[in-house]
């Protein structure tokens, strides 16, 4: 399946992916109204190691620990996409405890917030990829290395 992958050598560290993500998942139509002067809760985040930056988001693992560990039965994998049912999530953050990539974080309501590939929001394709000015984040099919 198609996933979001990172080419860290191209990342500018501009954080645009974070803003595009937060906007795509805000449910609003005006980016300024959605983001200005508010804390944002993007589902992708930029990390820095020395002079290298890179984006981190859910890997949609083949065998996701978060799904197996969720104490509420709120995380499931549907058609390859790991999804959180926010109405069931109680914000215990067991998913944060187990995600080996640090890709799940609490959202505005305390519930687990993570990349669901923008398949169900207004963007329809990963907003982080669409808005990346340097192709440092791509959405494509890659071979299983194993």
């Amino acid at each position: 399946m198609k996933r979001v992958y990172v080419n860290e050598q191209w990342c500018l560290g501009c954080h645009l992916c974070e803003y595009n993500c937060a906007f795509a998942n805000s449910g609003m139509t005006d980016m300024v109204k959605a983001l200005k002067a508010k804390p944002i809760y993007p589902r992708v985040h930029i990390e820095q190691s020395d002079d290298i930056t890179y984006a981190v988001s859910c890997r949609h693992c083949k065998d996701p620990l978060c799904v197996k560990s969720c104490i509420a039965g709120a995380i499931s994998k549907q058609d390859g996409v790991v999804k959180v049912d926010k109405t069931k999530c109680v914000g215990c953050l067991t998913c944060v405890l187990v995600c080996p990539y640090g890709a799940v974080r609490p959202g505005p309501d305390g519930a687990a917030n993570k990349c669901e590939l923008c398949l169900e929001n207004s963007c329809g394709e990963p907003a982080c990829v669409k808005g990346c000015p340097n192709n440092a984040i791509v959405y494509e099919e890659r071979q299983d290395e194993k």
Binding site: V56, A72, V98, R142, E145
Partner: protein
């Protein structure tokens, strides 16, 4: 065609059903459930009292879970396992099995306490029914006494706190959450709870009860209306023991979840399996372990092959917005390095020994904690990790560039 029987209907049983169905789509599965509910998210019983979830949302799986998985759900207590005849007796009925999974869970342990029978409103806190019974007794001005400052006792305390007059928690240990936190971190959590208005009596225990009064060993007297007994839990091992299985504190299972008896597996809180953080068997009564063990048992029961060799203790728990995560094992000062940092009222302690992260605790900002957990679980050699970065933040920056590229650029 095989016939699978599962005793118990918690998360381990749900995992077992899903494990069986990942291999065998057709054979009969029968689930014998002592609790008269479809599988629900047990740890949510305190969130229910707090108003953070509803009984409907506590369903661990969808409404059509049993139907979809062609599993028959019987509400009854399993009374006996006959390993030779491959039969389980429940009430006046029997069911034959080719493969059996015991996922019987655990029960509250109530030590003998003088005068306990004089206490009218006393509860344990393990099941949805316990939670509903406790809820009925709650009044705006109730004085609640909770025996046990462990995970169950404190989550119960949080769950009912806004609905009652006062909450006092007693524990024999000298700190709260003594099974998962060290002294330094426990102190941070205790202070947070005390600031909210919770009262603690630690290093103390009840000498005797007389109706609404608990006389403590220390001489102190506590007046209460409602008593919650959350001293601890015991694995439900009796059925397995009577059937002749090897049992210690839990039902002993191999890495593939097989018990010492042929065709009989066990999973979840009733088992004692391998804990890789201490290199020995131990009861690891945590939900992720229950699901994974159940799934593993199911796969093997159905003729597949799976084993679990990297189970570790790990917990994520929060109280009034303060999060605590922990994983692995700790050691005494001097046996290795304990890297401590404090930030924004929180604390982080990393236990590093023999060039490995053996365990950690974070109270407060838990962002990225799973990266630490994976180092503990995988026993990653820190030779390949930038330890200064590791101590600072839980990010992928601590890894070598090629390791990180594999994590973010490969199918994982």
């Amino acid at each position: 065609m095989s016939k699978y029987v599962i005793i118990g209907n918690g998360v381990a049983a749900a995992g077992c059903i899903e494990g069986i169905r990942s291999v065998d789509k057709d054979s009969e599965v029968t689930v014998i459930s002592a609790e008269k509910h479809p599988v629900y998210a047990r740890p949510l019983i305190s969130y229910y009292l707090e108003g953070k979830t509803t009984l409907e949302k506590m369903n661990y799986r969808s409404e059509d879970f049993y139907e979809k998985n062609k599993a028959e759900l019987i509400y009854a207590s399993a009374d006996k396992i006959d390993a030779k005849k491959s039969e389980v007796t429940y009430g006046s009925k029997k069911v034959r099995f080719d493969k059996l999974c015991i996922a019987a869970g655990s029960s509250p342990f109530v030590p003998p306490m003088k005068g306990l029978d004089t206490v009218k409103h006393q509860f344990t806190f393990m099941t949805m029914d316990d939670s509903l019974a406790l809820e009925k007794a709650l009044k705006k001005d109730s004085r609640v006494l909770i025996i046990g400052a462990g995970l169950i006792g404190l989550k119960c305390a949080e769950g009912i706190f806004e609905r009652v007059g006062s909450v006092t928690v007693v524990d024999l240990a000298d700190r709260v959450l003594s099974s998962i936190l060290d002294n330094e971190c426990a102190a941070v959590v205790q202070k947070h709870l005390e600031n909210k208005g919770m009262k603690f009596l630690l290093s103390d225990s009840v000498d005797s009860f007389e109706k609404h009064t608990a006389k403590m060993k220390s001489g102190e007297k506590v007046e209460f209306d409602i008593l919650v007994l959350a001293v601890g839990v015991r694995a439900n091992t009796q059925l397995a023991k009577d059937a002749g299985a090897d049992v210690n504190r839990g039902i002993i299972v191999e890495n593939n979840m097989k018990t010492s008896l042929d065709n009989i597996y066990a999973a979840g809180d009733c088992t004692e399996g391998y804990d890789s953080s201490i290199g020995a068997n131990r009861v690891l009564a945590i939900l992720p372990n229950a699901y994974m063990q159940g799934y593993c048992a199911g796969v093997n029961m159905a003729g597949g092959e799976q084993s679990i060799t990297n189970a570790i203790p790990m917990n994520s728990i929060g109280f009034f917005g303060l999060h605590c995560v922990s994983a692995g094992s700790y050691f005494e000062k001097g046996e290795g390095e304990i890297a401590e940092s404090k930030c924004c009222g929180g604390i982080k302690r990393l236990y590093i020994k023999d060039n490995k992260l053996t365990g950690y605790i974070i109270i407060g900002d838990v962002t990225g904690a799973g990266i630490y957990t994976s180092l503990v679980r995988e026993k990653t050699d820190l030779c390949d990790v930038d330890v200064d970065k590791l101590k600072k933040d839980a990010t992928l920056a601590m890894f070598l560039p090629e390791t990180r590229r594999k994590k973010l650029g490969g199918v994982v």
